[in-house]
Symmetry: C3
Subunit: 434 residues, 3 copies
């Protein structure tokens, strides 16, 4: 596990820049976020779809414009102010500008008795409401006075934005990475996803060659993924061989894995293989515990091969969906670890082929430079692996299966296979053969 | 497990009425039993097949007429008398009327040293014999005197009787319940089966509608099931989707399950699901330990989907096949428990469908009244179940699979599915789809 | 496990005769070995293929002629002499006849510090070298003097020999037994294989009838198996239903099993069934731990159903590939045990058929003499087995599966099946049916 933490510092700096933007399902915050990412990925395309559009079973909601939101006492003291923390305003609040008694205010306040010092993150996208979120300690200490509740927002037809970047490869078969950009001012559950996805996109773009085409998608969660599917589903179902939702990948406390609905896809196999190969202590969840855009990508009839490699999973750490999910919780080292694992997952899928011997019986390894010329009792691990590659390369196993079966690192198998292919003892193909 | 015991009292009263009838493979006892059941199920049909008829690999035996059987000492004392307990005469005894010394009598006596106070149940259907069954304590105390053995029976061509009742439903696909009526004066291993089957038939007939057709079959064990198969096998193999042998379902000491030969049929899945859902401590036996008419229904080439939900299984409780298997052993509460479980099994099969989402991605639950409008951290179990139904309804899982997969009660799934179907987000079908 | 040890004495005597022959991949030693075996199996055929011939991916090496090999000090003392132990000369040594200082000699000496009193077995078939093998204790005590190294060998074009014996049966489907004859003066890992194979061939030839044809093959390991495959692969792939590599089957310390590459072949199932039926404590290895000619027979594209039943497996006992693998290590009782197990494996495959009931429902066993006429509580194991045979003989299970499924000995099943077949209740076939 000695990951290189350098890329983590850069990712964390992006995260700090993006942190205060007032992101939501729609609105200026999403566009500001995409604009920032476009500086890092010039080919990233901003897209939009009009409010009211039908997207699969859904309708794109009105666009939300946020200007300010605060709660003031009669004596002019601001109790909560969204300028201080974006979470103070209930997401998608309709506007309000009125005076309330302490009691009248009660239904509009949200706090978490179990985490009394944290501001909870609450939204109401599809039913019009307004509200303020605040620490439970603050709420309990509110004096019995009158309050000026002011939320200067607008909800009216506009657009929903998202962005994507396609990096072509030798084949039109795609590796897709999807992440979301709709949560304000939270780190592990929001910004860790976009910054790791961005770092991966920049690294992939820098590679001298790519076997697969890569697709990076930045969408508001749920409605954005549904919109993206509504626009591209036939293409994606045909082309995507492995997909990854990047979410909750920034802290250092644990490793988590969310499989695809039925498991066993190339994405599942590659991710689990790499996590195991790194010897990481990974908690594999059931798809019943899913919670991000795999809900759409793995839905019946969509059935794409999507998984998530995470650190502390949404819903499983106390700071989730609160102001405590901050820039201290997600760290450079946490981000760098996920980045390194995902690089290896991508390398593995890029290298993945089905191998089949063309010789019958064992090939003569000696004449191929793959055998010691002197047989003794000494154990030669690399020879053992070579003999096992030769014994199991029957065209039914891909690189991942073969590595799992014989317990040899995928990189060693790739090297030995290259030598066997050069010397006409083996062929590689994209699918099972023989 | 708080089962309603009321139906158990009624079933137990039927059992008490039927207890003393001298049932055997054939003869008046079978007809008296059917006549009693016809009062409870007026549409129950008495059938007959002539002795000597070929039924599959078997030949229907001669009919047995029983009048009386006793063993008297020289001084006129009746040691055993079938008027006192029907088990005292070896079943299908040929007639005898002669005097024997104590020693000469020995080969004709049957007792159980391991249960010295119980009368064993012994029969000889296919080889002509006669004999008396008695407690081992009585046998050991028999004085060395002469004995008058009198068995007034007749074995001659006649008929073998059985009965069936078909209750039509919307579909011609059948749920079949088979039980046996050939054991005299035993409760758990005999009468519990017919009385629970009768209660189920009366309940099924009272339902306002039925999706399946129901078939209730009352046969002498083995030869009766073979006879029934010989008459209906093509129909049954085509139509029966789930079958149940009702046997040993009257005591309160345990729950037992006999799977079908290969397991995994609708009958297996439905029964195990209900037993698990009730949280019952069930012992699942191997088909190697079968012993009732699943021997015929699940035989190679017959291959019907038959299982048994039992309380204390035949051969597994000490009173089995003795006079101790009596009206105290089988209780109202024991019968009522089995009845309640079998009602739920039938309800589950009646409700069982394959569900498939017609929307792509998650449907918008809010507009269907299936979503809270306010998203907070509170866990909403019914929403979780709804989202899981939506995530797994891909047309490959039926209600039972879906319930097992997501851990939601079948009744909740049925309700949510109804709402999704109404709102054009889901379709249901009798078989897998998609 | 009370095996008859008598055949072990005879096998051990053959082993003693064959022990000192200077076997190698090629040369006179192989021919002497075959000549000895021909006295025991007159129909065994000696074959040859010329050096330089292409065999699959390999080329047949030059033939090695050995005359003598020793190492002498200046004062004429023979430190090592291949006349004393064949292992003293590195296998396939090229000739040498020169004087060396103690230091100059060092690269040509092989010993085992971990087994300081044993001579290691070392070969260099495909790279020309010469060398001496000796106990590490002897090597360490070598005085600092000059040494005369003399190895009188020749490496030049000749032939590679092997031998085979085909014993015809009713069917042209074959059971094949392959063993190797290329190691000098070692017992468990070499001669145990040929002598058990010989004993099996003599026993098979003596049988009054055989359902299968039998093929016994004696080859130099690896290159010999490859040569044999190169000559017969199409025939063998089509005809061989079960194959066994006989190796390391002479000691008494353990039982080992090497499965085929994918497992589950008739050879795997039969061998495991017999080992289990004898209640032996068997260690089943992974195919990853293979090491003999299953490397060729189970290679991708060859895919023959080969397994090995062994005692102490190659590489897993300390004496392996040293002079300590001697005639004390392999014992008459050890050989006899393997012989007895392999006889049972062969008997089982000879008897193996798929059974299917032709009656529907249970057949009437009474009229077939397969049922007690009196039903009591006594457990009748043979009846239970009979009823289970009847319940599971659906044409999908062969004798081995059926025996595993119902827990009845294969011999009992064979007897009952014969009776059911005679009485038209069952059919047997070579493959699955129904």
């Amino acid at each position: 596990m000695p990951f290189d933490n350098t890329p983590g510092e850069e990712m964390h700096s992006w995260m700090r820049d993006l942190f205060p933007i007032m992101r939501s399902l729609t609105g200026e915050g999403v566009r500001q976020t995409v604009a920032y990412l476009q500086e890092l990925m010039p080919d990233l395309q901003l897209r939009q779809v009009a409010s009211g559009s039908s997207v699969l079973d859904w309708t794109v909601p009105d666009e939300w414009t946020f200007r300010e939101a605060y709660l003031e006492t009669e004596d002019g003291q601001r109790i909560v102010d969204a300028a201080v923390n974006r979470l103070h305003v209930l997401g998608y609040s309709e506007p309000v500008d009125a005076w309330f008694s302490r009691n009248e205010l009660e239904p509009y306040l949200h706090s978490l008795p179990a985490m009394p010092d944290a501001i909870p993150y609450v939204t109401s996208y599809y039913k019009r409401r307004w509200g303020f979120c605040l620490p439970d300690t603050v709420r309990r200490a509110l004096p019995d006075t009158r309050y000026h509740a002011r939320i200067d927002t607008e909800l009216k037809p506009g657009v929903l934005n998202y962005a994507d970047l396609v990096i072509p490869g030798d084949s039109d078969r795609e590796i897709m990475i999807s992440t979301y950009i709709c949560h304000p001012q939270m780190a592990n559950n929001e910004l860790s996803g976009p910054v790791v996805a961005t770092a991966l996109a920049r690294w992939v773009a820098s590679l001298p060659n790519r076997r697969h085409t890569f697709r990076f998608v930045f969408v508001p969660e749920t409605i954005g993924a549904i919109t993206y599917l509504s626009r591209h589903i036939d293409h994606l179902k045909e082309k995507v061989v492995a997909g990854f939702v990047m979410t909750c990948c920034g802290d250092e406390r644990s490793w988590s894995f969310m499989p695809s609905r039925k498991g066993g896809t190339l994405a599942d196999r590659a991710a689990l293989h790499v996590l195991n190969a790194h010897g990481l202590d990974v908690k594999t969840y059931s798809f019943l515990e899913r919670g991000s855009d795999e809900r759409q990508y793995c839905a019946p009839g969509v059935d794409m091969p999507f998984v998530s490699v995470m650190r502390s999973k949404y819903g499983e750490y106390p700071e989730y969906h609160t102001s405590a999910d901050d820039l201290e919780l997600a760290t450079p080292a946490g981000l760098a670890g996920t980045f390194a694992v995902m690089q290896d997952v991508i390398r593995l899928i890029e290298a993945n082929r089905y191998y089949r011997m063309t010789t019958l019986g064992e090939p003569q390894l000696g004449k191929r430079g793959l055998y010691r010329s002197l047989s003794t009792l000494d154990v030669d691990t690399s020879l053992r692996h070579t003999l096992n590659i030769v014994a199991y390369a029957d065209g039914s196993l891909d690189l991942i299966d073969l590595s799992d079966k014989i317990g040899a690192p995928a990189t060693l198998i790739t090297e030995v296979a290259a030598r066997l292919i050069e010397t006409d003892a083996m062929v590689a193909s994209d699918g099972p053969s023989g």
